[in-house]
């Protein structure tokens, strides 16, 4: 009997780039760049999101992220966090491309400060423009299968629906729509935002997502490096469970030991 005890070379590909880690981590909110780097290391992430901000002219010699997390070893995914209009996001990513020299970017266009919920009209508009300009945008979006499809048609290289509002740590609020997005997508789907703890990450992977993107869940844990390890394990466990195919749920008990031969 052939028993597939190990999953060989489980990898995923976005815009022609192949990765083995399915965990993408943010680099915001850490107490120090040292802690940030240690957490990235522990997470096993091969992609980190970064923000584009003004250089502090009054003190340009402050330690830089690139001194702690080597962009040659870890793929920097520039994001547009903080942008509330398509034009702002596009402008930010044009600068990011010039600073980093690559086209793979994370697009997010927010609708309001209170919920940081995506503005899908602006997000779609920005996606169309970015694709025309040769960018490969991984796009943060609402957990709406129709919006996800529209983004894919516009040229998004990955669909990244929120599990819950950014930084909330509430976990996946709508399993049904995340699953529908996964089933309908022809590009990778990653849950982006809302993960609070390891079980949330495992749940996203069990739903069939290609990966999970998180920041606050690790950075605001009491022990970020330990939580980064937990997330690595959770993403791997969830992926394996998805590949293994879970048992059907039953309404009542079913004994595990044989009934035959009972004394």
């Amino acid at each position: 009997m052939n028993v597939p005890g190990t999953i060989q070379a489980d990898s995923w590909t976005v815009a022609g780039r192949t990765f083995t880690s399915r965990l993408i981590v943010g680099t915001g909110k850490y107490k120090s760049l040292e802690e940030n780097a240690a957490a990235v290391e522990a997470s096993g992430a091969e992609i980190v999101t970064v923000a584009v901000r003004r250089v502090n002219i009054s003190d340009p010699n402050q330690p830089m992220l690139t001194d702690f997390i080597d962009p040659k070893k870890v793929t920097y995914l520039p994001n547009t966090a903080g942008c509330f209009a398509a034009e702002d996001a596009i402008r930010t990513l044009r600068l990011a491309r010039e600073a980093g020299g690559w086209n793979l970017v994370k697009l997010e266009v927010l609708g309001e400060a209170k919920t940081l919920y995506p503005d899908m009209r602006e997000t779609l508009r920005a996606t169309e423009t970015l694709v025309k300009e040769g960018f490969e945008p991984m796009v943060y979006c609402v957990d709406d299968p129709i919006a996800a499809k529209q983004l894919e048609e516009a040229g998004a290289v990955a669909i990244m629906p929120l599990g819950a509002p950014i930084g909330s740590g509430l976990g996946i609020q709508n399993r049904v729509t995340i699953r529908l997005i996964v089933e309908g997508a022809g590009v990778p789907v990653l849950v982006d935002a809302g993960v609070g703890t390891a079980s949330d990450a495992a749940e996203a992977m069990e739903l069939g997502c290609d990966g999970v993107l998180m920041n606050t869940a690790i950075a605001e844990a009491k022990e970020p490096v330990l939580m980064a390890r937990a997330m690595k394990a959770a993403v791997e466990a969830g992926r394996l469970a998805y590949l293994a195919g879970r048992m059907q749920k039953r309404r009542y008990a079913d004994p595990s030991s044989p009934l035959a031969g009972l004394i």
Binding site: V52, R54, S58, L95, E98
Partner: protein, 101 residues
């Protein structure tokens, strides 16, 4: 025309920090040359007539390999930092990657 007395006083940004430090390259040049007003990252600054973007970044202590520059809302390719001259009233954004989600 910038006087030498004024040139020895660093020009300050709206945020209160100085672009041109005393005894700087620009400071010395400004004693001899006319200067122009520009905006860098939201603050006002004065630089001598004729400097390139590369010279402006050098004076600021910024490694051009680690930043991107936008001039009047248009990207300036890094390869042309040494050629593009700073002009009166230019608006610059000088950005880099920082931690983010």
């Amino acid at each position: 025309m910038q006087t030498s007395a004024a040139a020895s006083t660093p020009q300050t940004f709206a945020g209160g920090f100085a672009l041109l430090r005393p005894r700087s390259y620009f400071g010395r040049v400004m004693e001899l040359q006319e200067s122009i007003a520009i905006h860098v990252n939201g603050g006002l600054a004065r630089v001598p007539v004729g400097v390139t973007i590369a010279e402006m970044l050098g004076e600021l202590g910024i490694d051009p390999k680690k930043v991107a520059v936008e001039r009047n809302l248009a990207i300036v390719p890094r390869s042309s930092f040494g050629e593009v001259r700073v002009e009166e009233g230019d608006q610059y954004e000088v950005v880099h990657f920082v931690g983010g989600g």
